[in-house]
């Protein structure tokens, strides 16, 4: 009888571990949708912004910077950030937050997709900075400020590639970074430190840093970011990343290299694209992680 004791104990621990793990996973997944409520009301009076709730970019829509559903005045930053040829048969539109880790994990996947499909894919980026990410609005404005000097995508890439660093207010890009400086930044981890990091990025991208500093807090740049966010909220987006392919809202489970490849092939072949049912599904997870929710 004694021989069965260790087996019984091990079996009990195994069951507890599996059961506990699954229960914890389920609890975490159930907690996440609750974060989406209440969804902040759609900003109705965003200056110089017109929101078209039902209009993610589609190939039939002329999405050149001059003519888009979301438009701001001509003197302001470019209305739409597009990478790829204007006549590409497939348009992928991402609502992203530079501080959101799943967005950061999606970034290399999208880069791979752009590389794979070349002229057949056009990527559109829209800002959806979540309030719970303290540096996300500043990061979005940094990308816009760089965009005013014609380097939106370079800053976009820089922010995503280094997001784990600047989130903590640490700049490991600069050659002058020392361990003591890094430790100090870790301890401070304040917005002002992040600003310094963004200024450094602007310098690396050979931007006019003084102009970048001024633009970072300008009303035009703030309005540009807010216009994207207002548009996203109007579309019912409550988490990031949210991706539309030819106007079809992709489920979060499809935001993988394989899933996006499959959706791309379907779009190119004119076949139906697997679409998110209803509003963004609350419990959905994907290998890039559960999308971040608005708060």
């Amino acid at each position: 009888m004694r021989h069965y004791f260790p087996i019984a104990i091990i079996g009990a621990v195994l069951l507890l571990a599996i059961g506990g793990g699954l229960l914890f996973l389920k609890l975490k997944q159930e907690q996440q949708p609750s974060e989406t409520s209440p969804i902040p009301p759609v900003v109705q009076n965003t200056p110089a912004v017109s929101v078209t709730p039902t209009a993610p970019v589609t190939p039939t829509e002329d999405a050149t910077p001059a003519a888009t559903a979301t438009s701001v005045e001509a003197r302001e930053p470019e209305a739409l950030h597009v990478r790829g040829k204007g006549d590409a048969p497939v348009t992928l539109e991402e609502y992203g937050d530079f501080q959101c880790q799943p967005c950061g994990r999606l970034y290399p996947v999208l880069k791979g997709l752009e590389h794979e499909y070349g002229d057949r894919l056009r990527v559109v980026f829209r800002h959806m900075p979540l309030h719970k990410h303290e540096h996300a609005p500043l990061a979005a404005r940094a990308a816009e400020a760089a965009g005013l000097q014609g380097h939106f995508w370079e800053m976009h890439d820089m922010l995503y590639e280094n997001s784990l660093r600047w989130t903590k207010g640490v700049d490991t890009v600069g050659p002058e970074t020392t361990p003591s400086r890094r430790m100090q930044s870790n301890l401070l981890a304040m917005d002002i430190e992040v600003r310094d990091v963004f200024f450094r990025y602007a310098d690396i991208l050979k931007l006019d840093v003084e102009r970048f500093k001024q633009d970072l807090d300008s009303e035009a740049v703030r309005a540009r970011v807010e216009s994207d966010r207002a548009r996203g909220l109007a579309l019912g987006i409550d988490r990031t990343p949210t991706v539309y392919l030819n106007g079809h809202h992709l489920p979060y489970t499809a935001l993988t290299a394989e899933g996006l490849h499959k959706a791309m092939e379907a779009a190119l072949a004119g076949k139906p694209i697997e679409e998110e049912t209803g509003s963004p599904s609350p419990g959905g997870t994907s290998p890039i992680g559960t999308p971040r929710t608005t708060k």
Partner: protein
Amino acid sequence: MTTESTRIVSHPKLYVLAAFIAVAGLADSIYLMVKHLTGEDVTCVASSGCSEVLSSAYSTVRGIPLGAFGAFGYFVAFSLATFSAFGYAGAVIFLRLQVCCMLAVTLWLLYVQAFILNAFCDFCLLSAGLTISLSVIVTIEYFMERKHRVPANQEVAREL
């Protein structure tokens, strides 16, 4: 003269302690695995690099989170420690091998955190501490077992 021992498991209480430590490691690994699967941020208390470490390229192996490997490793260690505590001599050998492997992986991960990522994560450090504790226990038991080892021929003579 033979070196065979008639008392392989000399201190079962040490293995009970090892089993409890392995369960703690199992819980830690499962927590990290679930956090990875849900994509949630892990909040550090003592250190500041949880996000950096747990989102790095080193946090997965072929898409499988390290927490899953950790959970498996700790579960195996727990099973072997339990069998050892109940006097299964063969399990002791496998436990020593298992703990050696876990210690090697732990040292590599500590190196990655310290010199490649320049960031530490509380839960990873906890796991490292638990693995090191297991190593210490197994090492102590090994030397105690050597000390108490009774050569087989002496045991036979005593019985006669």
